[in-house]
């Protein structure tokens, strides 16, 4: 699966579509990524989408809404969306903005996200 600019290639492991966002994406790239993820979920009949935002310094309301929309679309295809690696500064800023990212699950890292989605406990 080809990568969008500024992200790692999208891979699917144990039924989970995984991507890490590396750079600050502009609006166009964010929407393109959304499309690609939805495509992949459908194509692989995935049970989860894991988005690693550990490299993102900025998550504004646009990106937040995109994540929410992603979760909604994934849910319609019976998949869960988990955002991982959120930086403390980003978390505090989103809270200040009033963005709760309802419908989007969160985990500390991709490993935990996979466990969460597949229902295992370590």
């Amino acid at each position: 699966m080809e990568a969008s600019v500024g992200t790692t290639p999208i891979v699917t492991i144990t039924g989970c579509v995984i991507v890490a966002i590396r750079d600050d994406l502009d609006d166009h790239d964010i929407l393109a990524l959304q499309d690609q993820l939805v495509e992949e979920v459908s194509r692989k009949n995935a049970v989860g989408v894991i988005i690693d935002i550990g490299s993102l310094e900025i998550v504004d309301t646009f990106a937040g809404r995109m994540l929410g929309a992603m979760a909604q679309m994934a849910r319609m295809m019976n998949a869960r969306t988990v955002v991982v690696g959120m930086r403390p500064a980003v978390a505090m800023t989103l809270v200040e903005l009033g963005m709760t990212l309802e419908g989007v699950e969160t985990a500390l890292n991709a490993d935990r996200a996979i466990n969460l989605i597949l229902g295992e406990r370590n």
Partner: protein, 134 residues
Amino acid sequence: MAESDLTVTLSRPSDVAFARQAAMQAMTSIGASAIKKTKFVTAVSEIARNAIVYGHGGRISFEIVGNGSQRSVVAECTDRGPGIADVNQALKDGFSTGKGLGLGLSGARRLVDRFKITSSSDTGTTVILECACR
């Protein structure tokens, strides 16, 4: 010591990313803390996007003010749009005429140290944001 001004033209949605970069650069140059940087750049992102989406385009300029250990970055964003009819209403959380104008404006205000907005149908909208380094 003269500080350089930086202006970013805001016409296409992709320009918001440029505005973020310029804001980040300015905050880094005054030695801002990570949390202050994140808050300010996010606020800039919101305001810049509003200018493009609702304001029919405009521009945002950055200036570094103050001296010594307490410097700040001031961002001034102007657009040529129809203006916001009721600014106070728009600043209340969740208010929205389109998709998501609400959280962005009031959120941006909470994120910065100083926030000023003027808006009219003749002159468009001007938002001033300021953040100190700590």
